[in-house]
Amino acid sequence: MIRNDVAITPELVKEHGLKPDEYERFVKLIGRTPTITELGIVSAMWNEHCSYKSSRIHLRGLPTQAPWVIQGPGENAGVIDIGDGLACIFKMESHNHPSFIEPYQGATTGVGGILRDVFTMGARPIAALNFLRFGEPDHPKTRHLVSGVVAGIGGYGNSFGVPTVGGSVGFHPRYNGNILVNAMAVGLARTDEIFYAAATGVGNPIVYLGSKTGRDGIHGATMASAEFDDASEEKRPTVQVGDPFAEKLLLEACLELMKSGAVIAIQDMGAAGLTCSAVEMGAKGNLGVELDLDKVPTREEGMTAYEMMLSESQERMLMVLKPGMEKEAEAIFHKWGLDFAIIGKTTDTLRFVVKHHGEVMADLPIKELGDEAPLYDRPHLANTHQPTIAADTVKPPVSHAEALVKLVGSPDQCSKRWVWEQYDHLILGNTVQVPGGDAAVVRVEDGPKGLAMTTDVTPRYCEADPVEGGKQAVAEAWRNITAVGGLPLAITDNLNFGNPERPEVMGQFVGCLRGISEACRALDFPVVSGNVSLYNETNGQGILPTPAIGGVGVLDDVTVNASVAFKREEDALILIGETEGWLGQSIYLRDICGREEGAPPPVDLVAEKRNGDFVRQLIRSGQVDTVHDLSDGGLALALAEMTMASKIGAVVASAPEDLALHAFLFGEDQARYLLAVNPDEAADILYEAAEIGVPAMVVGVTGGDSLILPGGEAISIETLKAAHESWLPDYMAGKA
């Protein structure tokens, strides 16, 4: 058993991840040597994950305001007003490291954690998304990781009962040692029934709800206990196991309790469990907190204060209840078969006091635990700019058709059906657009509103130019929402980077954030929640900078939306946006020419907004129902995807004369959309576009059973589909 009077040695401090000066700072703050429990508490509060010590000063620059923002970053999740008294509550979060160690459980607990963040605020989750990056397909671990992560995401979401409607899957050697598993949840609540973490009122009961506490995920403790444990036991795994069943019960019980009016404040126990949740509730409400650990429901015997404070057991909540409502609350929780225990109270001392067996195990200033956490402005190096690659220096393919078939069947561009068929994407009966399109579209309750949502970033752009890459990530999310007819409202971000102590990595971080901020400002697309995951690095090799953006938008009438599938033969194909044929950092350059280089396409935010607003208005007015935004693989890939989504082919008769064909087809210029419109409408649309300076041109026509490229090369829909649908299942079956 870990006693509380353990001598605090420099080794112990180091094992808790505190730098000597950070420890000194803590000792000065409390005016004495901490107890082991206190050391555990501060190590949890001051680690990168909880304190954001390397990122905080940079995050301050993000735009977080808009008239429709009800709650920006800082709460469990962001909240936006979507009209009619309804709020959309959403957030994205990473579970990268746990998923690499144990892909199934790592992914389940990631999904569980983000769902909890959303329903903690009083929202019922209505959709989930995920953003996944794995190492190169040939890496010996990749298949196992893909299989486990996907099964885990499905295993949790399916059982919990939320449709998983979208996401992104990609492969790159830079993720060989650090995969990315980012999960996003979107929920719905009434704007006047949102719950927050700040406690109010002195002497109010603090209640523990949900599953029991075990020794799950106590990282420091495993090391510490090797020294202090007399009983020699097997080395405990630090992996947490998710229990979606318990979470579903917790959801129902929490929502029922919230309706009863008994809840003053609520906070889920996520990272650093009881410590973080209790400190946050107190500190945000300017109150002290006193906990009696004898009351905490435990799953294992002989748990110490240290262990209880650091346990990351899942499916648990902390609440401050209205006094006098304890009985009612308890009845609700027992009905759902969950634990309920009053484990403490709010105080007016501004101290965080933890008692166990009648002894004080920790007594710390509650506000300073958060406010006085270290804050670093780490040195950052701006990235050297990569040269612009002129299209005429890039080799054209022997056959454009073959190049396209190769791309649609490549690991990154192939169909991810194998993944999303393992997710229940239809439950709740509101999924209007299933995975495979630009953004998922989900009806809000019984309509008429809908929500559009997507997760995006192009890491190779971010690596080549963090600022442009950051902008592009936001612009692409905005564009995907626009392409289905949604009005983009706000984003959540999940900033996955390498080791912030390396100036190049910090430079990527700062650059990406600058780009994100610029784009969010220009597009009126504020950040309302997010997550930072640093130290994604193995053997000195960091991941590609990957600030995943989760965007949400609203459709006032969800029946008026656009999708990528061609609807009719003989529709005119209109390309919106300027096409220069930008091949630097393109998928063509990487996957056909084997060159991952050059500057990424620049993002013109004014053009983005103008072009996107134009397209959205066409959708909303009912003039256009078939839209795809252009991103990886450019025009050719968009055409192929639109063809494959229907059973209708297309003919692109010619390319502009001043443009090499491969640059026209595969260039990744930004701010572009491809529309398929009734030929009678085409002239009007071109005229309207010209009026407001939106570049638009007819590039082809729908029809037939193949895609015919300029010059006459034809690819049958079947050929495209076979390539597109087969790579991932074959790979997972060990055949590719």
Binding site: E102, Q105, D216, V241, F245, G337
Partner: protein, 79 residues
Amino acid sequence: MKARVTVTLKNGVLDPQGKAIEGALKSLGVDGIASVRQGKVFDIELGTADKSQAEASLKAACEKLLANTVIENYRVELT
């Protein structure tokens, strides 16, 4: 040759299944059950009669697939 592989959760790892079963037994009125932890067994027929070869195959099977050694222990018995 035949073998039985038993895979059980390591100590301290949450077992949601066991927990649910415990609850169900209680509500079914089955008394006297204090706790339940669920594991798996694999009954395996081996193509070989060579004991050490069999053991090597079984070990490989456990490490590569049958057990998730991050959270599970396994035991092999030749029967």
